[in-house]
Amino acid sequence: MKSRTPLILMVVFLTLVAAAAAVLVANSLSRDGRARRAEEFQRLVGGLGLGPATDLTRCAFRFDPRLCPGCPEDAGPVAGGSWFCPCQGCSIFYLRPLPIP
């Protein structure tokens, strides 16, 4: 008689794959409410926030390039300072500086 263990392993494996697929589908479907509130907030404040920061303390550019068109570290004592800006370190979202008139 063949062992049932490989069958159990197969069931566990398929369950894992099905659960991962369900998570991917559910995640793409459950964002409507948040998007609506985010849009409402943005309409209220006239568009605020674009980058990977939640305040203006160190680098307003990483918070929103519309408020500060380039990284202030570039005008600091270190040449090319924006590459050492802690707001960019580990950043998953790069923003190019906007032109300054």
Binding site: R31, A38, F41, L48, L50, T54, I92, I100
Partner: protein, 398 residues
Amino acid sequence: MAYFLEMARAGLVSILLHPFRNLATVIALVAVLVPFVVGIALSAGLQDEAEISVRAGANLYVTANRFGRQVAIPCAVAKPLRQVEGVTDVVPRIVGRITLGRDTEPVVLVGLPLEKMPAFIECVEGRLCRPSNLNELVVGTELARRLNLKIGSRLLPFYRNDRGEKLSEVVGLFRADTTLWQARVVFTSLETAATIFNQSGVVTDILVYCRPGYEAPARELLRRDPPPALDKILGKDLRLGITSRDEVAALLPEGLLQREGVFNLHFLLAFVVAILAIMVTSGFGLTERRREIGILKATGWQTDEVLLRSAVETFVLGLASAAIAVLLAWVWLRWLNGFWITGIFIGGVGAMPSFQVPFRLAPVPVLLGFLLSLVIVATGTLYSSWRAATVPPAEAMR
């Protein structure tokens, strides 16, 4: 078909022959994949929110520049801007930085005219500001938590103004599932913001809303041939800075490309290290594997059958690791709300974010993670299986 099912069964049995070794392989893979999937999901969530920010924002952001830096712009600029063809609305705005509380919590203070505030809004718990004797404030979630503020909380004067100071009252709180940029915002009327900054007659930027199709002509007109009244107000010292919605929107795809490049490069390095670790755990040169394959060959198995069995083992381990990584990433971001890892990727956030972390688990990075895990496991299993299967069984069993 029966042949392939039998091969699949043999592959599953081979996983069960070395349960601890394969468990170690899966754990090592999951440890590498989870931060990768979480990082990409956070980045995709941020991208979605940035797109909303651009879409729902103004058409043009008019600022003043001096020495190449943004400075305050006179409110009077609003009047000539209203007369530009295609402009439907002009809204002065103050956005500035202050600190609050004993621990000097950084605050993004946003002030807009009271008449531009809607009567009801879903993203705020409580209400928006109204004309009052007090400074009425709507506070973001992170600030509310750190400063222990609730609706109705009153703040002693935290600023200096030539005309005297007033108490401030929290009349609303932004909801945690609105957007991450509300976290440290204090939203108030333009008049209150000007009072807090001890300024009058100037704002930080002016939002210009245009009819569809008029954004680019209005931008070009203001850049090349601004109305004389505008020049008169700005004088010789100030230069007009105009940022259009299109220019801001153009930044986002570039960000995406850069993110994919830099982030994937970092993780490629992690995967290279992982390959070395997993080659050891998944059987590179494993004596048992050689012996086992030698026995299979001696009992009549062909080399391609041995390799197919190893391929099934590789596929199952790789796909299981990717599936577990997706589930753990989802639990980390959804149930644990990106505990600790959000602070690494997004500035100004503590270990436990007070807002609902934006994330989107996209299928493509997950597929990429699966392929990478497949390559890593295959490096450890297929090569050693092929080496063992191509030598005479007696030598392999020795």
